[in-house]
């Protein structure tokens, strides 16, 4: 299947999921119509975590092989992870305003996601401050791996130590899924579509970066930034 075809399928699936979220999913008990934000918020958060983990894995591969392709993949995944993390933060803030009365109240999960944004924002600042391509790839790979080591402390430890208004995860510690079946299937579909969207964007940006790198290599000056 070529990239254009998978783009069309992803867009159609996204339209289907949006339709299901607004016209098929019933209002939730207690939350009413507000529950629909969850179908954007959870997939965005899921994709951002997946992207950061992939970025770290490619960073590790770069450090072991020194092939620039892995650095390209790691940087692209981190960039997309940051974008989806921003979407999760905004959708979470909207949900917080509707349900708790304020966009931001430093709930442990808001703190966690804010620190994640800071970490990856800092990693982009680090990347732009290094001119040498190999040095940049090496140092930002190491920083990405250090960030992924810190991430469990943020994602799993801090929210469990402090009181949180944030609802329990869908799959909680008791391993019970507390959700209406229609909602659950829609959420699973939304997760799959968000993952597919990430894949399509990832392929697009990787190709674009590769073409730019080749063009810079062929140009009389050579080198240049990623």
């Amino acid at each position: 299947m070529n990239h254009r075809m998978s783009n069309i399928i992803t867009i159609l699936a996204a339209v289907g999921v949006i339709y299901a979220v607004f016209f098929i999913v019933p209002p939730a008990e207690g939350l009413g119509e507000k529950v629909r934000i969850v179908f954007f918020h959870i997939p965005a958060a899921w994709v951002s975590v997946m992207a950061f983990v992939l970025s770290a894995l490619w960073a590790l591969r770069y450090l072991n092989t020194h092939q620039m392709e892995y650095d390209r993949k790691s940087a692209t995944a981190a960039g997309l992870g940051f974008f989806f993390c921003l979407l999760a933060t905004i959708s979470g803030a909207l949900f917080a305003k509707i349900t708790w009365g304020a966009y931001w109240n430093w709930d442990p999960r808001q703190t966690t996601i804010f620190i994640l944004l800071l970490i990856y924002g800092a990693s982009f600042a680090l990347r732009t401050a290094i001119d040498d391509t190999e040095q940049r790839a090496k140092i930002s790979s190491a920083y990405s791996l250090l960030a992924i080591v810190v991430m469990p402390f943020l994602v799993f430890v801090i929210p469990r130590y402090y009181f949180s208004l944030h609802p329990s995860p869908v799959i909680n510690s008791a391993a019970k899924i507390a959700m209406d079946p229609v909602m659950l299937y829609t959420l699973i579909a939304a997760l799959l579509v968000a993952s597919a969207l990430f894949r399509q964007l990832f392929i697009y940006y990787i190709e674009r970066t590769r073409r730019r790198d080749l063009a810079q290599k062929d140009s009389p000056e050579g080198g240049g930034r990623l």
């Binding site: 970490i119 990693s123 680090l126 401050a129 001119d131 140092i139 190491a142 810190v150 430890v157």
Partner: protein
């Protein structure tokens, strides 16, 4: 010429000794950190003008001073080597792990000295009484070890960049935040005469162990070309 190959621990001690000797001769880092501490502390104390503050705000101020003191001096360990042109020599003579260990020990020692200087002044200027000294020492020790561990690795990273000073704080702060928040919470409890829970104590020690292990694993990738 007789050359003697140093073992790993001896190399680390030699690097620590060299840094201590350089520091003793120039007194740059300790002097800067001490003055930074005094300036910040006097600024806070003068602004408060004797007004009472809650234990959680006092804890927050204490850790903010400690963090920015660390940021003012810890980057120097590697930036100085880079600027003086001795980083290459260090690469020739010592292995990565020994350099990391030596630099980390130096940074830990430096931060402990600054903390030992800051704490009595902080308690006097802000008129705070502490009854749980052993718990405070535990939190301060493990908190500053974490700061030193992350800062040693990020100091090496920024020594290879174009924007050394400003970037050091930018890339170190987010990585330290989980430990920073826990240390502030635990110190706040101690200043309010409440013994912090095991959660905080394990978190601080666990974070230190994790970042030291990660720094050790990653440093060789950065050290060797």
């Amino acid at each position: 010429m007789h050359t003697k190959k140093l073992t790993w621990p001896n190399s680390a001690w030699a690097i620590l000794y060299k840094d201590l000797l350089c520091e003793f001769r120039t007194r740059y880092a300790l002097g800067t950190l001490t003055m930074f501490t005094l300036v910040t502390l006097s600024g806070i104390s003068m602004t408060l003008a004797g007004a009472a503050i809650s234990s959680s705000i006092a804890a927050m101020l204490l850790w903010i001073i400690l963090f920015f003191c660390a940021m003012a001096g810890l980057a120097r360990t590697f930036v100085y080597e880079q600027e003086a042109g001795t980083l290459f020599t260090l690469r020739l003579y010592a292995n990565g792990q020994a350099v990391l260990a030596g630099k980390l020990l130096f940074n830990i020692l430096l931060l402990q000295l600054v903390t030992a200087l800051l704490i009595p002044l902080f308690l006097i200027f802000l008129n705070i009484e502490v009854h749980l000294w052993s718990q405070l020492v535990y939190v301060l020790f493990f908190g500053t070890v974490g700061v030193a561990a992350v800062a040693t690795l990020t100091a090496f990273m920024v020594s290879c960049t174009n924007a050394k000073g400003s970037l050091f704080t930018v890339i170190t702060f987010p990585l330290l935040l989980p430990q920073f928040l826990t240390a502030i919470a635990a110190t706040g409890q101690i200043l309010a005469d409440t013994i912090p829970g095991w959660n905080e104590c394990f978190f601080l020690a666990g974070y230190d162990a994790t970042v030291i292990a990660a720094a050790s694993l990653l440093f060789d990738y950065l050290w060797y070309d």
